[in-house]
């Protein structure tokens, strides 16, 4: 649990920093590398990636939604269509990025395990 939380925190902080200067997809190699380095189970990796990257979007999106972007978010939420609900759009934004992050972390974890010399690995 602690291990997952630490990985999550790393992913979250790394994602925020990277996305300040790089495109959003920089979170994919980041999650992959961090998961491969830390060596969690598949489930832990996915969860840390999903929430770590997700939070890196949920928090700023929620902040912007209450600081000037609400009107536009409502319009975009009508366009997509998400019934014109800005908060649904905040949720969806983070889920999409989180999914990419989670899958990237999962693949990192799985590849690390495949590369490890020991054959017998505990199940995730």
């Amino acid at each position: 649990m602690k291990k997952t939380a630490f990985l999550l925190l790393l992913i979250f902080l790394g994602s925020v920093l990277l996305q300040l200067v790089l495109p959003w997809w920089s979170v994919v190699p980041l999650c992959l590398a961090l998961a491969a380095w830390r060596g969690p189970t598949g489930g832990q990796a996915f969860l840390a990636g999903l929430l770590g990257v997700g939070l890196s979007w949920w928090l700023p999106a929620a902040w912007l939604n209450t600081h000037g972007a609400n009107l536009l978010a409502a319009r975009v939420a009508t366009l997509l269509p998400l019934a014109g609900q800005p908060w649904l759009l905040v949720l969806l934004s983070g889920v999409l990025a989180g999914l990419a992050g989670g899958l990237a972390a999962l693949s990192g974890a799985l590849l690390r395990r495949a590369a490890e010399p020991r054959n017998a690995l505990p199940a995730a």
Partner: protein, 823 residues
């Protein structure tokens, strides 16, 4: 190695997902890039701190500091110390609010939409290029750059726009760039010319030559002259009949032997948009409370967001002008300064003609003209298509102009005939920008007179008023010098006598200054009466709005700005007033027909509808049920009257209906005897009563199906349903079903999609006072509350007082921010 399989598979899924979320898929935007809070649309929000009350912006290219004040509608009031800086700042600040719109519209004009949206815009792009919009823009640009003033204005404005574009990082691109996934490109003076050509297309790009030629072939000259006369039965022309000429007219070219164009039925029909029109009117001091003139203007265009117009005040040595501009074009188009005010409405003159060509052979390299074969010029258009290789399209040009369609293929715009060359005033180079720059500087009638001389296309009714108590109006533009009816039908492209032979001199366009009646006005009706010596066109907007305006102006005594505002919002339907009493009499009165044909007895619902109509005061108010019934009834009546004779389904030919004016005359005066009343498709011989009854039944039935039994739901605003849509038709970015009064035929010409795109009233005086509103806002950013903050005032017919400053440091309670722009 099998143990690497799960990881590799998940990695593949991850990369695929990442690619999908990062890439535009057809019309679906790159979702993750759009939704990213770091670079996506969330960054386009507008918090109060994003618009500081005070700041200094450093802009390369400025020569001296520029001061800008913003009022509570976000209108920039620009105070520059020279013309270069003035137009530079105008370009910069307009781009700051409207970059996407102005760039997108130039792409629309240039036929470059496929670059952004891919192959589905290809036919549209081809059409724009084949109609020669970019060709006309280049001709105009050449003419404009020859003039030192225009060159300075265009180049400074472009530099200002580019200063804004180059200050942007992708994170700061306007929302629509992120949605459509492309980037702004550098601005050029050509783009300003393209925007003017787009206006010319909207306002003068319609023609019925093909339809009239088909009618002439089918029914002969007598019927054509009778049903499609050159001057309407009821008319109230802009320059009043009897206005003395202050010039000696040129001889007009002789009418060549009549030419019968080949029948053409290759194109389906699309009626020209009758709603695009405008009003302007001015009263002399003799009719105003102040003793000085008042002027009003409201151009009716398709209503979109971001708004068509952008308000600005421009102040520099030698000028202090306020008004609306077209984002992407410098100077004020409709506005006022301390001495004068002016406005425009469209002239319905015939400035676009078609010539039937005779090619030597199928290679189409030579065409017959003036007794010999002449070479066809071939221009290759390269159309960049997103996601596909470039498309090359060869357009043929004769000396007339482009051959818009050179194969028997399905044309994009159904009104365009095949195998014909097009001659159009918008293809000619002219310096319209200079005309507006001069109007911005004008101090009196003489300046107005001089300013209009370089204005060619689209021809406009320029109305004018000054604080020296002058009022005037001129249907002004470059008109070909034509023989009567030249270009009403398709012309013979082999005959040199059918070419345009020159121009009506700019000093001889229709005009009137300070008429005895104490007012001038226009609402797109005929420019002048039959006593004007030149033929300009035959098909203008119906007289309704113009007539109502003149009726009301003639009653005005001690008028104020509010009197003119009320007239702009006048909802009386002249057509209903003219026709409804007759329609009611002849539906109720003809008992004989009902006895003969009991099926024609009216149902209770139809009787109720007639009762509602009988009580109507002809005002198109939001809750007027009668307006809804009348409009549908009248429209159906027209259709039942003409469909069998001029409809495509019945005749197999592309034709058009006679005008409303001619139809009304037929119904009111000739219904008993006219052979056109009978429906040729039935063995029965129909009379006017049958048409009226069946049309009424149709109207009541369809309204009952749409809204339920007769009741408040049938109210006019509900039926009309005015929508203002985003330029890219994005759901959620416009306003639907706006409850507002008026109809296309009333002075308040608010229709389903078109309407007053700017309402302005100016009271001239020692201290000019002006009022204005448009249905939207100054900002083009859909995140901003200034995107549509003026809509509600517009809806209810109110105007804002416009903040007009004399100096940069003047105090005004509505000023909110003061910026400084410097090097």
């Amino acid at each position: 190695m099998l143990r690497f399989l799960p990881g590799t598979l998940v990695l593949l899924v991850t990369l695929t997902l990442t690619w999908v979320l990062n890439t535009k898929q057809g019309d679906v935007p790159p979702v993750a890039r759009l939704l990213s809070p770091y670079r996506g649309f969330w960054q386009n929000g507008e918090a109060p701190t994003d618009f500081p009350e005070q700041q200094t912006l450093h802009l390369p290219g400025l020569q001296q500091p520029v001061r800008v004040r913003f009022d509570n509608r976000r209108v920039p009031h620009i105070f520059a110390q020279n013309d270069h800086d003035l137009y530079y700042a105008q370009g910069y600040l307009t781009a700051r609010d409207r970059l996407w719109q102005m760039e997108f519209m130039t792409r629309v004009a240039a036929g470059r939409i496929s670059e952004v949206v891919g192959p589905r815009a290809l036919e549209y792009d081809r059409f724009q290029r084949r109609m020669g919009l970019p060709y006309g823009a280049e001709n105009s640009l050449r003419a404009m750059l020859k003039n030192d003033t225009t060159r300075l204005v265009l180049e400074s404005y472009s530099a200002g726009v580019n200063a804004y574009i180059s200050s942007l990082s992708p994170r700061e691109y306007p929302f629509e760039y992120k949605l459509l996934d492309y980037a702004p490109e550098p601005w050029q003076p050509l783009k300003c010319a393209l925007l003017l050509k787009l206006m010319a297309w909207d306002l003068s790009g319609r023609s019925d030559d093909l339809r009239l030629s088909n009618i002439l072939s089918k029914y002969g000259p007598k019927v054509t002259q009778d049903l499609f006369p050159d001057y309407p039965f009821r008319e109230d022309p802009i320059v009043p009949v009897g206005t003395p000429l202050d010039f000696k007219p040129l001889p007009v070219p002789a009418t060549p032997p009549s030419f019968t164009a080949a029948l053409s039925d290759k194109v389906p029909q699309r009626e020209p948009d009758a709603e695009l029109g405008s009003n302007n009117f001015a009263v002399a001091g003799s009719r105003s409370a102040s003793g000085l003139p008042l002027l009003a203007n409201d151009p009716h265009l398709q209503l979109n967001l971001p708004s068509i117009w952008y308000q600005v005040q421009l102040h520099a040595p030698g000028q202090n002008v306020y008004g609306v501009t077209i984002p992407g074009a410098p100077a004020v188009i409709i506005g006022f300064n301390e001495q004068v005010a002016w406005g425009v409405t469209n002239v319905g003159g015939d400035v676009l003609d078609w010539y039937q060509l005779k090619f030597r052979d199928n290679t189409k390299r030579e065409y017959w003209h003036d007794g010999r074969w002449k070479p066809v010029r071939r221009v290759v258009e390269r159309i960049v298509v997103r996601g596909l290789p470039d498309r090359l399209d060869t357009v043929l040009y004769t000396h007339h102009g482009p051959v818009v369609y050179d194969h028997d293929e399905k044309p994009f715009n159904p009104q365009t005939p095949t195998q014909h060359a097009m001659r159009w005033t918008a293809h000619e180079g002219a310096d319209e920008v200079l005309a507006f720059v001069k109007l911005n500087h004008a101090r009196n009638y003489q300046d107005y007179d001089r300013a209009l001389r370089t204005y060619a296309s689209p021809a406009q009714n320029f109305i004018f008023a000054s604080n020296q108590n002058d009022i005037a109006i001129r249907p002004n533009g470059r008109y070909p010098l034509k023989w009567p009816e030249q270009g009403k039908f398709i012309l013979d492209g082999t005959d040199a006598r059918a070419d345009w032979q020159g121009w009506i001199p700019m000093t001889q366009t229709p005009r009137v200054q300070n008429p005895a009646r104490g007012f001038v006005s226009s609402a797109n009706q005929h420019s002048a009466g039959p006593d004007y010596p030149y033929y300009i066109g035959w098909d203008y907007a119906p007289w309704d709005r113009g007539h109502r305006i003149n009726q009301q102006l003639a009653k005005m005594r001690r008028a104020t700005a509010d009197t003119l505002r009320e007239l702009q919002n006048d909802n009386l339907g002249i057509n209903a007033q003219t026709m409804l009493p007759w329609m009611l009499d002849n539906t109720l009165g003809n008992r004989l027909a009902i006895i003969k044909n009991p099926a024609a007895l009216l149902s209770p619902a139809e009787k109720d509808a007639l009762a509602v109509l009988g009580r109507w005061d002809y005002h198109y108010t939001t809750d007027a049920v009668a307006a809804t019934i009348f409009e549908l009834w009248y429209q159906e009546l027209m259709k039942r009257l003409w469909e069998d004779d001029f409809g495509k389904a019945a005749t197999g030919l592309e034709m058009r209906y006679p005008s409303r004016d001619r139809t009304n005359r037929l119904l009111l005066e000739q219904a008993a005897t006219s052979p056109w009343i009978d429906d040729r498709r039935t063995p029965l011989r129909e009379n006017g009563n049958n048409l009226l009854t069946t049309s009424l039944q149709f109207a009541v039935d369809s309204l009952t199906r749409k809204f339920g039994p007769l009741g408040p739901k049938w109210g006019w605003a509900n039926q009309k349903s005015t929508d203002i849509n985003h330029l890219a038709q994005l759901p959620g970015f416009g306003h639907q079903d706006i409850v507002c009064a008026g109809s296309p035929g009333t002075v308040n010409a608010t229709g389903p999609r078109n309407g007053p795109s700017w309402r302005m009233v100016v009271a001239l005086g020692p201290q000019v006072k002006a009022y204005g509103i448009f249905p939207g806002g100054q900002s083009g950013n859909p995140a901003s509350r200034y995107y549509d903050d003026m809509l509600e005032s517009w809806r209810v017919g109110k105007l804002d007082e416009l903040v007009f400053l004399r100096a940069a440091d003047e105090n005004h309670p509505r000023l909110q921010a003061a910026w400084r722009l410097e090097k």
